[in-house]
Point group: C2
Chain length 113, copies 2
DNA sequence: GCTTGACGCCTCGGAATCCTAGGTGTATAT
DNA sequence: ATATACACCTAGGATTCCGAGGCGTCAAGC
């Protein structure tokens, strides 16, 4: 309730998912694991965030999904980036860089003498 | 409705406000201007976001406020960082860096060969 | 045989944050 | 006289995330 903010920054999840899917087709459950691994435990995506986000992205036409078998033989929903999704990813990367740059400008602002 | 995301990243506003106030006491109206200036128009803080955020931060005990006269003679509510606020700022800066680092890790992740 | 845990999918409800759009009042410039 | 900048504010809707719960399969351990 108070101060600890281990959350993903709201608005960042879409970017992360799109990027991970761009690295190769994966199913949802694996996406959250990859995000956690690649970020070295910097992010932990909850399932209650993940699946609604995937449906959101699919509805926007950025991801396509089809059921397929895992290496271990289970059925899973594999996601792939659509052409629109690739453009969206580029846009979101650009957005992120603009935002991160702007935040850096403010954090680096020196105190007046 | 669709794609354009000129918004401030949700969760970042508190950090920006705390940092700007840390640079020197200012009133609310000036905070939004400073954020816009320092970020070189990277951010534009709407009043409907600003004032609720200020009240939020004050209620948390991170900012203190008192009415005072502007250089131009008007009354305005000047905000200053409390001791708790300074700690909170440090925590949020650390959080931001952790998050920005994690995002960078993912964005830099190479596609598997 | 049974139970636990990992795998893999899902939804509902609450909490938090932001924006839009409205509103108030004063001073200055046109 | 009117418009614009200053300076404050709130209410409502939209979005996004998390926590908690649920379903079903399969492998491992007891």
């Amino acid at each position: 309730m108070a101060a600890i903010k281990s959350d993903i920054l709201k608005g960042t999840l879409d970017l992360l998912i799109l990027k991970v899917v761009a690295l190769g087709e994966v199913h949802g459950y694996a996406i959250s694991q990859r995000i956690q691994q690649i970020s070295r435990n910097g992010f932990q995506v909850q399932q209650g965030s993940l699946y609604p986000a995937l449906h959101r992205l699919e509805k926007q036409g950025w991801l396509s999904a089809d059921w397929r078998a895992t290496e271990t033989g289970r059925e899973a929903k594999y996601y792939a980036l659509t052409r629109k999704g690739r453009k969206q990813l580029e846009a979101e990367v650009a957005d992120w860089e603009r935002i991160a740059g702007a935040v850096a400008l403010i954090l680096d602002a020196a105190e007046p003498s």
